[in-house]
Symmetry: C2
Subunit: 198 residues, 2 copies
Amino acid sequence: MYRVYGMAESGNCYKVKLLLSQLKQPFEWIETDIMQGKSRTSEFLAKNPNGKVPTLEISPGVYLPESNAILCYLAEGSPYWPADRLARARVMQWMFFEQYSHEPYVAVARFILLLLKQPNHPDLAEKQRRSHLAFAVMEQHLAKELFFVGGQYSIADIALFAYTHVADDGGLDLAPYPAIRAWIEQVKAQPDYVPIGD
Amino acid sequence: MYRVYGMAESGNCYKVKLLLSQLKQPFEWIETDIMQGKSRTSEFLAKNPNGKVPTLEISPGVYLPESNAILCYLAEGSPYWPADRLARARVMQWMFFEQYSHEPYVAVARFILLLLKQPNHPDLAEKQRRSHLAFAVMEQHLAKELFFVGGQYSIADIALFAYTHVADDGGLDLAPYPAIRAWIEQVKAQPDYVPIGD
C-alpha cells in the first residue's frame, strides 16, 4: 500500500490525496507538519534530501518526492494521463506552469495568511500581484476549454486546482475569473472527488 | 522542421538546443530578446500567453512552452527518456526540483549579474544562499550516482546542467562540490554536445 508523507493543509500534498482517491487506491497518510520542522529531521531527510512534502513511499524504502512527479507516476495507464504524445506534453506544460508561475505566488500568499498568519508580511502584495498574472493566463485558456488539456480532466487539472480553489485563503478574489470559477465546479463534480484538509 | 523561440544566453532555452543537437534534429532558432521585451509583444503572446521563452513551434501554429515540457516531448522514444515507469518518474522528480528549488535561485542570480549587471541588487545574496541549498542536494545525490537517474544521461541531466554549469556567472563557486564538477565534465563529454550561447 502506498504511504504518503504529507500535511493536510498543503495543496501540494492534497494533489496526491485527490488522485489516489480518484484512482481508488488505498493509502496510508503520515501527517508531517512542516510548521513543526517535521520535514527537516534527519529521519525525514533520509527519505527526501530536499526536505519537502509530499513524499510518496511507493514500496518499503522507495521514496518519490515532488507532487507533480508523483501525479505522473500514479496516473500512468489511467484516464488522467493522456496517451497522445502532444497531449501528454501539454499536461506537463501546465504542471510546469503550475510549479514555476503559479504555486510560488498563490500557495505562498496562502501560506503567509493561513499558516504564518502575517497579513502585514512584506512579500504578500507582490505574491498576490503575481498570482493574478497566473490566474489571467488560466482564465484566457479556460474561456475556450472545459479542462486544461484536450477537453478532459487530467492531472494538469489536479495540479492547478490544488491551490486555485483555495485562493481565497491567500486573500485572492476569483470573482474576476468566471471561467476559472466554472472549471473549479467541474473539478469538484468529478467522481471520487475529496476536499482538501480532511 | 522545429522552430525554437529562444534567447541565446538563457539556460532554459539552451536545454532545447542541446537536446535537439543530441537528437540530430534540425531546427530553426528565432532569437527572442527578453531584455528588449520581445517575449511580451502581442505577436509573441499569441504563441505563448505566459510570455516566456523557450517556446517550441512543433508544426505551423502549434506551440509548446515550458522548457522541461519541451524536453519531455522531444525525448520521447529516445535514450534520453527512460522506458521504466519509476525511472521516468525520477526524471520528472529532478526536472520539477530544477524548476522549483534550483532555477529560481541559480538562474536568477545569473540574470542579476550577467544581464541586469546589478552586483548590489538586494535579492542577490538570498538567491545565492538558496542556490547553495540546491547544489547541496545535487552533490549528495551525485556523490553516489554518475547521472541523475539510473546511471544514464537523460533529460534530467540536461535540465539541471543548463544553469549549473554556468553558475559562476551568478557569482556561485562550485569548488565545494566535487561530484557536481565531475558530472559537468561527464555531460560535456556526451556525443553531440554543444555549448551555451553560440
